[in-house]
Symmetry: C2
Subunit: 599 residues, 2 copies
């Protein structure tokens, strides 16, 4: 089948010809797998995504979840799609066999998820959150907690949420005020309000497992006093049945510009709306150590942030394929050299500016997909490499790449979606076509799971200096490796691109040294955002060089397309980093010297 979701040809190239995921099958965890099982998972994913997710994407957008008679009403297609998804085992693509999962490499699981995100990013939000919550319990919960909840989350019987933000505390989690009062039986009672909770309430699953950050009274102030609590919507009875309504109440729905199909809520915990017995407070259980909740949550943050990048990429990718399809079939205008008004109109793909917009989208979407799969492959290495040092290397490199995997697709695949509208002209701006929704949906991605600016501070302020600079050294070693392979081909373009990439990273080193030499942390990080964007573009140039090197010596339209997109990236995109790095290197003080009264 040929869908307008994600190119399977591209996935096959990236997974098998570049990342060599088949090699993973020699590792014990993946010993039951082979290329056929990988392909089968992707085939099934594309089919379910096309047949059950894409089919209600527009309907979800046009019929938002509503609060009716105390319950959240969601169009029935969402629950139906999740049922098919669950029956096919898709919640547990990379979960352990023992938890009912398929135990696929994450690289393959992410390829599968790419289809669902491209088909319907809103409906895909529910499993994303359920799986995230399940992984948290699996990583930090007691054996009893794991047995009681995790298998039901990987089967889709229970869904889940992540409750971090509050109305007054979004980016600044140090300032959350939700409190967890310890009870005699070892449980806790929660009191507080949680904002922006996707999947926070609905009737599509037997239960909803909320993973909530809260403070135990008497603990340290700020982020060091945050703990993690498992808070089900319904308390389970002894038979494991969702029995008694917990004191978690829907306080309101948020109405967004996009992502409308994922119900987004304000939740009240412990306001007595639904009390089990006479006591107030939402019944919950500590997961992991007290006061270590943020650390536990942040271990999942790499996954969540790569999940954001995946969603952004998928929207950019499907937008690109839609624009490409339109550009091949829409006749409009003539070549600039053809002055005969009686000649036939040409398909707009023949206009240089339309090609520019398509090439840019291809470079952004395919580049982002490659980056996300690379990060997923690193996660597989982190978990299954034989040597501890190799596992640690993978962790360190993944730490460094995560802010890029989150921010770069969020910025550039959104730009790609804007170009997809532009290719469609006036039609693209209407709701009769799909691309305007992709653009609206994608605009969320630079905001949630750490804003663009927070990714910048994370990169320059934390990941670059981390472990004595080990993550950056590892990255540069891989960049050098790619440059060597490119140069060894003898190909003129690849050789030149390798040289450009080395220059780019040399300039990045200069920027890092400049920032590191500034003693005041505020001043050192004032220009972190242009650094993030430049670093991201350099990383993507490396990813494109990797792809072009993997395509070298192979003939055919597909490989020629990879080469041309790489050329586009090096000629049109990579040079954008120099003005940005000059700001950092020049210690530009425009931001810090701006007086508030001057605005």
């Amino acid at each position: 089948m040929t869908s307008l979701l994600i190119s399977r040809r591209d996935l096959d190239f990236l997974l098998y010809e570049w990342l060599d995921v088949e090699a993973l099958t020699v590792r014990p965890r993946f010993a039951d797998h082979n290329r056929e099982t990988f392909n089968a998972a992707m085939d099934t994913s594309e089919k379910i995504a096309a047949d059950h997710f894409a089919t209600h994407n527009k309907k979800s957008d046009q019929n938002e979840p509503r609060f009716v008679n105390g319950k959240v009403e969601i169009i029935p297609e969402v629950a139906a799609a999740l049922a098919v998804f669950g029956e096919a085992g898709m919640f547990g693509l990379n979960a352990d066999f023992e938890d009912g999962g398929m135990q696929l490499p994450l690289a393959v699981a992410i390829a599968c998820r790419a289809y669902f995100n491209a088909a319907n990013v809103s409906t895909s939000g529910y499993p994303l959150l359920a799986v995230g919550a399940a992984n948290l319990i699996k990583a930090h919960g007691t054996p009893e907690q794991i047995a009681k909840y995790v298998p039901h989350m990987f089967s889709g019987r229970f869904l889940g949420t992540m409750c971090l933000s509050e109305p007054q505390a979004g980016s600044s989690l140090a300032d959350i005020t939700t409190r967890a009062e310890p009870q005699a039986d070892g449980s806790y009672r929660l009191f507080g309000r949680k904002m922006w909770i996707s999947g926070g309430d609905h009737e599509m699953s037997e239960n909803i497992i909320h993973m909530v950050l809260a403070k135990i009274p008497g603990g340290p102030p700020g982020v060091k006093g945050i703990s993690l609590f498992l808070t089900p919507k319904y308390l389970l009875d002894d038979a494991g049945k969702s029995a008694v309504r917990n004191d978690v109440a829907l306080a309101g729905l948020n109405h967004k510009m996009g992502f409308r199909g994922t119900v987004n809520t304000l939740l009240n915990f412990g306001e007595g709306a639904h009390k089990p017995g006479d006591e107030a407070g939402a019944v919950c259980w500590l997961v992991g150590e007290p006061h270590k909740g943020l650390a536990a949550m942040f271990q999942m943050m790499n996954e969540a942030r790569i999940g954001v990048g995946l969603g952004a990429m998928a929207l950019g990718y499907t937008g690109y394929l839609h624009a490409l399809d339109y550009a091949r079939t829409r006749p409009q205008g003539r070549p600039l050299t053809d002055r005969d008004p009686n000649s036939r109109q040409i398909p707009i793909i023949q206009h240089a500016d339309v090609r520019r917009m398509l090439l840019a989208q291809k470079a952004y979407a395919e580049g982002a997909l490659a980056l996300i799969l690379y990060c997923a492959r690193l996660t597989d290495d982190e978990q299954t490499e034989a040597e501890a040092e190799a596992r640690e290397d993978a962790t360190q490199l993944l730490d460094l790449l995560t802010p890029i995997a989150k921010s770069w697709p969020s910025q550039w695949c959104l730009e790609g979606n804007s170009l997809a509208i532009q290719v469609h002209g006036g039609y693209g701006y209407t709701r009769d076509y799909n691309v305007e929704q992709f653009y609206r949906d994608n605009r969320l991605n630079p905001i949630h799971e750490g804003t663009h600016g927070i990714q910048a501070i994370d990169l320059l302020g934390r990941k670059i200096p981390q472990a004595g600079g080990r993550p950056l050294s590892l990255l540069k070693a891989r960049v050098r490796g790619a440059c060597s392979r490119a140069t060894e081909t003898g190909d003129a373009f690849l050789t030149d691109a390798a040289k450009q990439l080395e220059q780019a990273f040399a300039k990045i080193d200069q920027a890092i040294a400049t920032a590191a030499a500034i003693p005041d942390r505020g001043a050192a990080l004032a220009n972190a955002t242009p650094f993030l964007e430049a670093f991201g573009h350099a990383v993507l140039a490396w990813i494109w060089l990797e792809q072009a090197a993997a395509a070298h010596g192979k003939s055919g339209d597909f490989y020629d397309g990879k080469r041309q997109a790489c050329r586009y990236f090096f000629r049109w995109e990579l040079p954008k980093i120099y003005p940005q790095l000059d700001i950092v290197i020049g210690k530009d003080e425009t931001l810090s010297s701006m007086n508030e009264a001057w605005f």
Copy 2:
């Protein structure tokens, strides 16, 4: 009053301290005016915009025009606002006294319109179109046509439309198929379909005057066979009353991502839905010469394109003021150097990255406003300079700046609206705040009235070589003048900025020479878009240097803000042009060598 629409302090600075619009009052056309009448017009505009336009902006967005029982239903606030607007004489801000207008300079009229566009770009669309249609009749119609229609359009009794596009012919007007059959009485009958017609049908005015491009059978093919026709929705009786329904039928409404309050339609002409008597075809009258319709329409195109830039700017400007207001009042986080979680949270305006986003918005919005007012001032010169050569200079320079006035605010004030969302965080992405609507509304602007790519071809392919390069020479003379004034101040920053600006224009010259030396027109214009964007940024750098020079020697927060925004523009924005110009200068062939099969 202080609205979040447009800064009046900024308007006063630009009009009185920079563009010296008071000097226009010595010219006969503006002899009845003075600073007090200018101020009164702006005061009234801000008040009506805030009280009658902004108040239903969100409601219009959430309650789109609907087609009910054969009529278009629009929320009553729109007609009520237009009634207040009309009573205040706002349709005729710069129209002749003899047509019921106020005969204000266009620079002042545009300042007034900026308020309405900022308050409600959708409702502002109706007068924009009515005035555009009236101006067309005024410029090309017979005295009888003018007398019969124009005063009623400047009073708001009749509204109007521009009917250019067809479903199969958007950017390529050569391919329109609507035909106008000549009748014995000198009138014509129209047959065809027109797409994207804003204001195409509604019940808010006694009549709607459609200005329609169509072909007279037997005329030359392509754009040389296009004529312009005045086609009222209702034919006027001898008393001038809108009496008999013409054969113009609403065939459908377009549903857009934004701009939802402006009804946008597909119209059928001559399909017999409403026939006057027994004959088919919409009754209409030729305006101007046969086959010269496109030229007539394009004489209005400068105005329409500057109108698009005005709308884009206004959305960017009000978005900036909304973000600024939010950033001053929203507490979140602490300085990076403050590790005490018990300290008070700071307003987010104190974070460097938020300042970056606000400074960028300020630079985009205020820069775009200055550019639009500059163009309006040129239009005033074009119409009222005493010497013919000065008038012709103004025309030539305006021709060159028009693609920038259209494309630059459409690109960068949209980017500003994205930053306004980002400053608001998750809240900005919800429909509880205003900024997401600005972003959706603004996304139309790079599309209509000539797409971004078409502006690029217009600039590099037509305006740069026009009249032996006279427009560019005129611009460069003004740039040199600004550089001289900046350097003469002795101020270190202004002197350095002047040098940077000269370098930028030298590089632009190099790019132009490179493109001009390519014999094949397709190849010469293949990289027109990066040229457009680089040229636009250089023009805006000049506009910012002009502003900083005008602020020189003046003290106070307002002037310091202008200086800092100028600094931001030269340090953060202007350098972006070099990679773009390198693409042009390097005759990059990435686009032209891309094979369709490689996508």
